[in-house]
């Protein structure tokens, strides 16, 4: 069974972002970019499934501008067998379009499992996995913290992080799984593997070649900074803290 993993290139999680002065978006030029942390976890899970013999080939895919090839190269260095880059140019692509592109790639590659991160840390949408599952009419296991594949019954048992605790569901394969933080600890790419990754193949296609029209039905009007909190005070003792909470803030 092939496993397809979708990865996204985003501003590194540790970067303190800056809103552009013209309010058109967030500054991304000259900013460190990395693979979205949830996507790393998705890829790690696919690699572990392959190492456990539960999966065959691992294919990494990314949708976005030319620089996404770097992200795919990272995925290949971590251990993905090959990669597909859907070059969407510089136009922003909404989750619905990404989901349609992934659906088209699923029809080409025929994986038995599609793994994504639960959300990208830039747009914080948390939509793509659910949408591609809906479009494919596959079962979905979102916010996964544990995945067990059963080859015989062609099912996946998924433990999900939900509001009340941990929910366990069973999915008929093929299925879509999105990963939560606690699913695994992604590996680092070693130098030999980074070298090896250079000879692996990144296939390039365009949305048009996949017959997917990118039709944005959401328009960004403006991006602003959130309101600043007013500077706080440092208190010197527990008594002073209680006094302030009681008489100044009036919260206890």
């Amino acid at each position: 069974m092939k496993v397809m993993v979708a990865v996204k290139r985003v501003v590194d999680y540790a970067v303190k972002i800056r809103v552009k002065p013209d309010k058109s978006g967030v500054e991304t030029g000259n900013v460190k970019m990395s693979m979205n942390p949830f996507c790393e976890i998705a890829l790690e899970e696919a690699l572990r499934l392959r190492e456990a013999g539960a999966a065959g080939e691992v294919i990494a895919v990314s949708v976005g501008p030319a620089q996404c090839a770097d992200t795919l190269r990272t995925a290949l260095a971590m251990g993905a067998d090959r990669a597909v880059h859907v070059d969407s140019g510089t136009v922003p692509v909404l989750p619905l379009s990404v989901a349609k592109i992934l659906k088209a790639l699923v029809h080409v590659e025929r994986p038995g499992l599609l793994i994504l991160g639960k959300q990208a840390i830039d747009d914080d949408c948390n939509q793509t996995g659910q949408m591609v599952a809906g479009l494919l009419r596959w079962a979905q296991g979102t916010f996964a913290s544990k995945v067990v594949l059963d080859k015989e019954s062609q099912t996946a048992t998924v433990e999900r992080e939900v509001d009340g605790g941990i929910e366990t569901i069973s999915l008929d394969l093929p299925a879509v799984i999105t990963t939560d933080l606690r699913l695994n600890q992604p590996r680092y790419a070693t130098l030999p593997n980074i070298m090896k990754a250079k000879s692996k193949v990144i296939k390039k296609v365009t949305p048009a070649e996949l017959n997917v029209e990118i039709k944005p039905d959401l328009e960004i009007i403006q991006v602003t900074e959130p309101p600043k909190r007013k500077a706080g005070a440092i208190v010197s003792s527990v008594d002073e803290l209680i006094e302030k909470l009681k008489n100044e803030a009036r919260v206890i």
């Binding site: 303190k16 840390i121 830039d122 747009d123 914080d124 949408c125 809906g134 900074e225 010197s236």
Partner: protein, 362 residues
């Protein structure tokens, strides 16, 4: 463009057509066509608090007071929740009940199909649910089935199709306009839409309850997933998402044993207990207590952080709290930049002292 899609809607739905035809003003006609569906959850015979926030958001979209609430499941608790929904908000004009065992568990495949079915029957202009693990799981799937882009985690509704939502862990706010076909779908951040107390004696404004026609709702045509179990931590403390006071512990607490100390303080304050990712990963507490970009978003009156450094991803989950208190040994910890009151001290000295000195909650 808006006018033509409206016309199509009118033609599809004769009821809407008759109500909008006599109006001479296009703008007026547009506002008349707003009809909102809230995908709600219920528990123990009551609509969940987060779903009531979604109703409050629907009322903000919808000045015409025609909000429909959709509930699913079966048995007496569904009927009780339906009657709770019928009388809990003046904007609610209709309660739709999908009564079937198929919907007993919150599985995305069946619920998304239900939303599609109800949309086909009612042609709503907006579909809203809370941005919790249920809404985030179901609504995007339903949106894909209806071929529209949903908006996640809306914190402000300026116009029926103009919304503000946080991006980059809340470090920027994005204002977006929905330009697509109906329905406009969104999940809302519960802490941004306050719910006024539900008066059960306002029986005069009770909305009619009707059953959803499920004759075409065929389980055999859904992709298969099965619900096996939910492992939940029973707690007598208030729900983290709605608590007025939250006390949170980070890596600085050092062990699960020490978290008991924090729980004692929470008890004294009538507070919910939260945690950072570091505390959850170290196994001090279960994951559903995590506050942050990927955990729960809280906005209590008082947020007290003990041994929390204040990483971007944690701040994302609590920055809208009214009053933030930070206790940390490290005077340079970033948490002090957002704290209203900071105390540079050892939390193992501070917490017992607080427990001793804080006045009892009645």
């Amino acid at each position: 463009m808006a006018a033509s899609s409206m016309l199509r809607r009118c033609l599809r739905n004769p009821r809407v057509f008759s109500s909008c035809a006599p109006s001479p003003l296009v703008h007026d006609r547009f506002s008349r066509l707003i009809s909102t569906l809230v995908l709600a959850e219920h528990e123990g015979g009551f609509v969940k608090q987060s779903s009531l926030s979604a109703v409050a958001a629907a009322a903000a979209v919808n000045k015409e007071k025609s909000v429909s609430v959709l509930l699913g499941g079966s048995g007496p608790s569904l009927l009780k929740a339906a009657s709770h929904a019928a009388s809990c908000h003046p904007s609610i004009s209709q309660v739709l009940v999908a009564d079937t065992d198929i919907l007993l568990h919150p599985l995305a495949e069946t619920w998304a199909e239900l939303v599609r079915l109800v949309q086909k029957q009612g042609s709503y202009s907006h579909i809203i649910s809370a941005s919790n693990s249920f809404g985030k799981n179901v609504l995007p799937r339903a949106a894909a089935l209806l071929d529209v882009s949903p908006v996640t985690d809306v914190i402000e509704i300026s116009e029926p199709r103009l919304f503000t939502r946080p991006i980059y862990a809340g470090n920027a706010l994005s204002t977006v306009r929905y330009m697509g076909e109906d329905p406009c779908m969104m999940t809302i951040r519960s802490t941004s839409f306050t719910v006024s107390a539900c008066s059960s004696d306002s029986k005069s404004s009770e909305a009619p309850i009707s059953k959803v026609d499920l004759s075409s709702f065929n389980e055999a045509s859904f992709p298969k997933s099965r619900w096996l179990k939910l492992a939940s931590q029973e707690s007598e403390r208030p729900d983290l998402g709605n608590a007025r006071t939250v006390v949170t512990g980070g890596r600085g607490l050092k062990s699960a044993e020490n978290f008991k100390l924090l729980e004692k303080l929470a008890e004294k304050l009538g507070a919910a207990v939260g945690a950072t990712r570091a505390a959850v990963d170290a196994g001090f507490v279960p994951n559903d207590l995590q506050v942050g970009q990927t955990g729960k978003i809280v906005a209590p009156e008082l947020y007290m952080a003990f041994g929390v450094s204040g990483a971007i991803q944690h701040i994302a989950g609590m920055r809208d709290s009214k009053v933030i208190v930070a206790v940390n040994k490290d005077a340079d910890a970033p948490i002090f930049q957002v704290a209203d009151y900071g105390l540079v001290a050892d939390l193992f000295d501070v917490i017992p002292e607080l427990i001793e000195k804080i006045p009892d909650k009645k």
